[in-house]
Symmetry: C2
Subunit: 495 residues, 2 copies
Amino acid sequence: PILILIFCKCSAPFLGKLLVIPMDGSHWVGMKAIAQEMGRRGHQVTVVIPEISVRMGPGKHYQTVTFPVPYDKAYIDTVISANKGMMSKEALPFMEKMRKGIAKFQKIRRLLLGTAESLLFNDTLISHLQQQGFDAVLTDPMVPTGSLMARLPTINLLRGIPCSLDIKSAGCPSPPSFVPRFFTGYTDKMSFKQRIINTIVALFEPLMCRLLYWHFDQITSEFLGEDTTVAEILSDSDIWLLRLDFASEFPRPLMPNMVLVGGINCNVRNPLPDDLQPWVSGQHGFVVMTFGTMVADMPEETRKIFFDAFKQIPQKVIWRYNGSVPEKVPENVKLMKWVPQNDLLAHPGARAFLTHAGSHGLFEGLCHAVPMLMMPLTAEQPDNAQKMANKGAGVVLNIQTITTEILLDGLKEVINNPKYKENLQKLSAIHNDRPIDPLELSVYWTEYVMKHKGVKHLKATVNELNWIQYYSLDVTAFLLIVLTIAKWCFKNSSK
Amino acid sequence: PILILIFCKCSAPFLGKLLVIPMDGSHWVGMKAIAQEMGRRGHQVTVVIPEISVRMGPGKHYQTVTFPVPYDKAYIDTVISANKGMMSKEALPFMEKMRKGIAKFQKIRRLLLGTAESLLFNDTLISHLQQQGFDAVLTDPMVPTGSLMARLPTINLLRGIPCSLDIKSAGCPSPPSFVPRFFTGYTDKMSFKQRIINTIVALFEPLMCRLLYWHFDQITSEFLGEDTTVAEILSDSDIWLLRLDFASEFPRPLMPNMVLVGGINCNVRNPLPDDLQPWVSGQHGFVVMTFGTMVADMPEETRKIFFDAFKQIPQKVIWRYNGSVPEKVPENVKLMKWVPQNDLLAHPGARAFLTHAGSHGLFEGLCHAVPMLMMPLTAEQPDNAQKMANKGAGVVLNIQTITTEILLDGLKEVINNPKYKENLQKLSAIHNDRPIDPLELSVYWTEYVMKHKGVKHLKATVNELNWIQYYSLDVTAFLLIVLTIAKWCFKNSSK
């Protein structure tokens, strides 16, 4: 008897229509990769983007539909240049720092809300899109425009929502006893004190969600004309593609419709442009430095520290930098408005990666095993950086207190101490060893949702339970009452 | 720029040594499939089986090591023939029924424990195996011999342990508010009353585990010379390959090291033997009837009912039957000591599947979309049957109250009413549409565990927490005390 192994692809090739409502900045990277690959496979992919954006734009395999927004490129530039302040060494008084922080937050919030409202209340565009007969929508629920707008089978691509709205909407348990919360910096092994703090943070998550999504809850009701919330809309989602991987995360429960696709863009490669060849082929290798889409510039004082340190290393330095440069650039430093970050890190000459510890960058560093010098700025970056440092993948520096000496020591440490490379090779082996490539997997589930019109059999029905029911608090109360009565009866009868 | 998609297989082909400690009966099917495929890929696979067993035996791609057991083939036959009683129409008094049930349970228990002890306390064999330098052990933790014996990186293949020992050992949350317990027959949508009963069943699970594994806990301590339990040993397991699929199960949380491989043997096919050709090629198609490995025979009275019903249908019937047949077998019925069940169900002529609703059979019926007439006998079979019937995949009959008319009606219903086939085609499409074939996936994770020497990064660290800590009961108590004190202080200060 011959053993025949057939990989059952029973259904005929399916081609459909996919609507994509992306988010700007680094969030665009994975989304674009999926949109491109879906289009390449023959699906009709429509990406809806604002007329003005940081980095979203057309692609070879999808069509774009744009909509007008109430801000201009200059406004986006002011939002981005406000981020420069995060690197400032200026010791601002606390109140001033708070004021600046809140002002920055408000600016970003206004940008996100402005974009969302411009799309949702653009009746012509909405009805045009409604007539297209899309099979599904692929979106980033961090800003839930796509989820609200389409009411179609939904694929979410995201890193995670800080108040755990994603986890709650998917009905996924997340016990505070071993699942560390955002911003705590804890691991999965917590002391009693840490578990108390972690639980308190978990208890405050619903409040945090309220604060973060308060305005969106209003838009939701207004747009849909029914009394509902973002959380309710999100719990209808079909597939959650999470840009996470347990090579850098702690093990935690997942629901059947949560799919891990961390490192989604790792294998999306292009050949390096010719002008970069001399910069990557030197005998000492090279260092890549990027601070992400949302940071283009750097205060003069900080930039000088970097230049002074770079002058003293034998490696070439390729630096993504958009600001002005008054003084002379060191000979071994190449400033570029945009760098092919993943292709550079994949090059065998890459010796170190100077990064703000955004999730995409870290996955690229992890995938290609490049030791990291991490200078987190904002959001989940300090958390990300701490996790990678805990795994022995690099060193964390504070950019606000950095000096040339500290930077130089950090550079020499990650470049010359072999332990970082060795740790990364192990981590990388784990991270890269997956039954299926994360982009392939993302496309697979996107097609699945389109083909089967959702994933009813994979979705928990927990959105029909309120939190008292979900945590069985009503059942517990009932059982306690019964026990108490039984005890009382027993006591009285034995008197 | 050209988009290059590379599926990163960074490490060189890895070949290692795998130890397999299987369980007998239907549990052997999936295990054998993995052992064969691992061997075919070039790994050195050693399967350890008792000298006497129901269906375990040698294979082309693995070597077998046998060990003596204190029972003979005749004893196994008496255990199997005791199952015949489950089909009896005899209305036994309750006490007699209980007595028979307990006697049967004791027989099976004695068989399993006898086998386990014969292996664990066979010092020569154990030390021989220890010297082989295996990279990992593949085993079925329902009988935890393999887990105890090897203390190697462990891959578990199982359907599920009724007292949820598997779920608990993996540290997987299983909220009773939406995860129905074994034997309750509930769905994921429960009424308040059902949630109360489900919670009570969940609360009794630890006690049930104690009862089921009490003797094994003793063996564990004796064999390992340390005070430990089966639960603790199992929580060290690396990968849980679960023979489940959400096409027939309700969505529930999973841990990162739980992998669903339901339908693992669906694509393991062999050509049908020549003598079966005339039986499968008739214009009316054919019916397949099997009652699993553990049921070989049938009381005469029951068999007659089947013969009488089969005489009245135009389909051919292929029946796996080991018992004696005094009367004349109908012309359209072929009795066989063994049938290639999966290959028959995969044949386009298969019209119906008469089954005891064992999990393997149901997956084969599901995979090939064959309407089912289910007559569950024992264990999780009534649960399995109810789930499939709920999905519209067939009809459940009670074999103890069956008559020729009832059976004939059931047969006609599943064969002639197109709704079963239609429902199954939908279910089958969902079940078969997976990014990777379940056998392929099982082999992938087995190799992964061998290559990386375990999956530390995927295992929850919850075995370091006791249940009070796991459910944060200590933290809750602390917070309640703090709140009470704070309230008291506030009250007193405002007086």
